[in-house]
């Protein structure tokens, strides 16, 4: 395609993979730099704030546990929106977006589970309990792994996209369960203390590093997602080129 035809005039123009690849190439260096800057500021704040009077030094675990837990849910929400794009609008990039978000979401969910466990041992006296919050997040992790396996197991990308999209939307029921589990059931995990009616219950001293780290992790998610999507488009192009070469060889 000529350079002029690749110009992005509206949001729908991004449906064209070639335009998307060109835009990703321009955005990625900026996004990566912003992510690095936010992590530098966030980590400085993480280790320069005071220890909590009750939790002591373990409050610093919260600065990575809470953003990782938020992103585990956001990753799945991105996948659910993409699944809708696949099934309803048949957007060419929707399946690419869903497929690429799964390993990143699984990584953040694993991090939330591990850091939660490392915080739980000194604070609760146990590594793990099967309460509603911890169990529903563990189920989310298994769902991510199942979707990754499903995508790898099916050779037909179009069929894999549709089956995955249906499964993603069915599994989305787990997201409100995770969010409200601490309100609906009696859990060892504490209720929401940042995103709640009536405002945050956290002192600004601790809220500041937490929000900067959440922003840094969010930027990291979108940087990785954008880069992975661009690579997935290349992978599909390679497959198409190989098929075309094979057809050419067969007809020659």
């Amino acid at each position: 395609m000529r350079e002029r035809s690749l110009a992005i005039r509206s949001f729908t123009d991004l449906a064209n993979p070639t335009r998307f690849v060109a835009l990703a190439g321009r955005l990625l260096p900026w996004l990566a730099s912003l992510t690095a800057l936010l992590f530098a500021v966030g980590l400085t704040l993480c280790f320069s704030t005071a220890a909590d009077y009750q939790q002591g030094e373990t409050v610093r675990i919260m600065y990575i546990h809470v953003p990782a837990a938020w992103l585990s849910m956001m990753g799945y929400t991105v996948m659910a929106a993409s699944a809708l794009g696949t099934l309803v609008w048949r957007h060419p990039l929707a399946d690419v977006a869903a497929k690429c978000a799964a390993p990143i979401g699984a990584g953040f969910t694993a991090l939330a589970l591990v850091t939660g466990s490392l915080w739980g041992k000194p604070m609760w006296g146990t590594w793990w309990v099967w309460d509603a919050r911890l169990t529903s997040v563990f189920i989310l992790f298994l769902m991510y792994l199942g979707l990754i396996a499903l995508n790898r197991a099916m050779d037909d990308a179009g069929r894999a996209a549709k089956v995955s999209a249906v499964l993603i939307l069915v599994g989305f029921v787990n997201i409100p369960i995770i969010k409200f589990s601490v309100d609906w059931w009696n859990t060892l995990h504490q209720p929401a203390s940042v995103l709640r009616l009536g405002g945050s219950a956290i002192d600004p001293e601790f809220l500041r590093p937490l929000l900067v780290m959440a922003l840094a992790f969010t930027c990291l998610f979108f940087t990785l997602h954008l880069a992975a999507m661009r690579t997935e488009i290349w992978r599909r192009r390679i497959a198409a080129m190989r098929r075309q070469a094979a057809r050419g060889a067969a007809s020659a």
Binding site: M1, L118, W119, L224, T231, W234, R235, I238, M241, R242
Partner: protein, 55 residues
């Protein structure tokens, strides 16, 4: 302070491991696919819609 320092260090270590793994996967995969595309283009294989452009 030192009583719980191990838990804090392990948490940040896990974060570094997960983030480094994700970044490595994305960067190495992109590099491999870019190389593969280049090999195919050098062999004269083009997508029908590409019209001779670069991917």
């Amino acid at each position: 302070m030192s009583a719980h320092l191990g838990y804090v260090a392990a948490s940040y270590g896990a974060a570094v491991f997960v983030v480094a793994s994700l970044i490595s996967w994305v960067v190495l995969d992109a590099r491999a696919r870019r190389r593969e595309l280049q090999v195919l283009e050098d062999a004269g294989i083009r997508r029908r819609s590409a019209g001779g452009g670069t991917p």
